[in-house]
């Protein structure tokens, strides 16, 4: 089954992905609006992938995490960096590893 792609981000990110063919876009203005739109995207059966910039994820904060926990397997939500290459310091996956594997913090080397 084919799914469409949605993007939530700043003007530049949205423009870029629109050029690449993302179907739904939302340009971040206010938190409330973004949350509403994100909820709409998550509830949609058409959308398979939602891209959202790290900066906005941080703006949304707790509400976003709550939505992530409540969502189904699809759509997938992927955090991306914006044009400044901004990536949030808290790595979601690393957090999960800490919680599941215990207090273990991984140090991985490249090319092993």
């Amino acid at each position: 089954m084919g799914f469409k792609i949605a993007v939530v981000g700043d003007q530049d990110t949205v423009t870029g992905f629109a050029l690449a063919g993302a179907t739904y876009t939302h340009i971040y203005t206010t938190k409330e609006e973004a949350l509403a739109k994100l909820g709409e995207f998550l509830a949609s059966d058409e959308i398979g992938l939602v891209l959202i910039t790290h900066r906005i994820v941080e703006e949304l904060g707790y509400e976003f995490r709550r939505m992530m926990r409540a969502k189904r397997l699809l759509p997938l939500v992927l955090r991306i960096s914006d044009k400044t290459g901004y990536v949030s310091k808290v790595d979601e996956l690393r957090e999960i590893i800490k919680r599941t594997v215990g207090a273990e913090i991984m140090v991985k080397r490249e090319g092993s």
């Binding site: 990110t13 992905f17 629109a18 050029l19 690449a20 993302a22 914006d82 996956l93 991985k108």
Partner: protein, 211 residues
């Protein structure tokens, strides 16, 4: 201390032994499952790291191309073009099962398009715009792959958490409690044995006195 209310009978003892055996077996199985999950999880993590690096690199390349486009073609024109673009990219997403856990499986078809297919007017735009679009299409392709991996990682992590909780519940709560109860019954039965023994002795002595 005995958290489980049991009556100290032989029947109960047998039943308890069975339960301990069952709990132990369940615990071992779950532990094995957890180990397998961890191996799977780390494999996915390794791949994520590679994919993420590639995707982020490509994304910054794309952003640079887009800035270039903003500068040369103009912000307004670029935005206009982005609105004219045909925006119906589709990805195939199905679910795959790793040890009974549904993880997303994404199939990426060719994302890169020919400038003619994109849908913006060619006479008003320059090749810089094509460049930016192409870079973004490439980035999108890598991001889609990354999304699949991250989706799997999250699904696995959630399952891992659940399994771990179960293993711990068995290991630290249920099995100790059952063992506690088992010990209690055994002590109790031994005590009764001793009581009975001394009682018999006493009766025997009484009978001998009389007879």
């Amino acid at each position: 201390m005995a958290a489980l209310a049991v009556s100290p009978t032989r029947m109960e003892l047998l039943k308890l032994r069975q339960r301990v055996g069952l709990a132990q077996r369940g615990h071992d199985l779950l532990k094995e499952k957890m180990d397998a999950l961890v191996i799977e999880f780390f494999e996915v993590l390794r791949r994520i790291q590679e994919a993420r690096m590639k995707a982020l690199e490509q994304l910054s390349v794309a952003h640079r191309a887009l800035s270039m486009c903003f500068a040369i073609v103009g912000t307004l024109e670029t935005k206009q073009a982005s609105k004219e673009t045909r925006r119906e990219l589709q990805v195939e997403i199905s679910t795959r099962h790793i040890m009974g856990i549904a993880v997303p499986a994404v199939e990426v078809r060719e994302v890169e398009r020919n400038a003619l297919v994109r849908g913006y007017g060619l006479h008003m735009t320059s090749s810089v715009l094509d460049e930016a679009s192409r870079e973004f299409e490439r980035a999108l392709k890598l991001l889609i792959e990354l999304a699949e991996l991250e989706g799997s990682a999250f699904a696995l992590a959630r399952e891992l958490e659940k399994t771990k909780r179960r293993v711990n519940a068995l290991e630290y709560i249920l099995i100790p409690r059952l063992k506690e109860a088992l010990k209690f019954i055994m002590m109790r039965l031994d005590e009764m044995e001793r009581e009975n023994f001394s009682r018999l002795k006493r009766i025997k002595a009484m009978l001998e006195e009389r007879g």
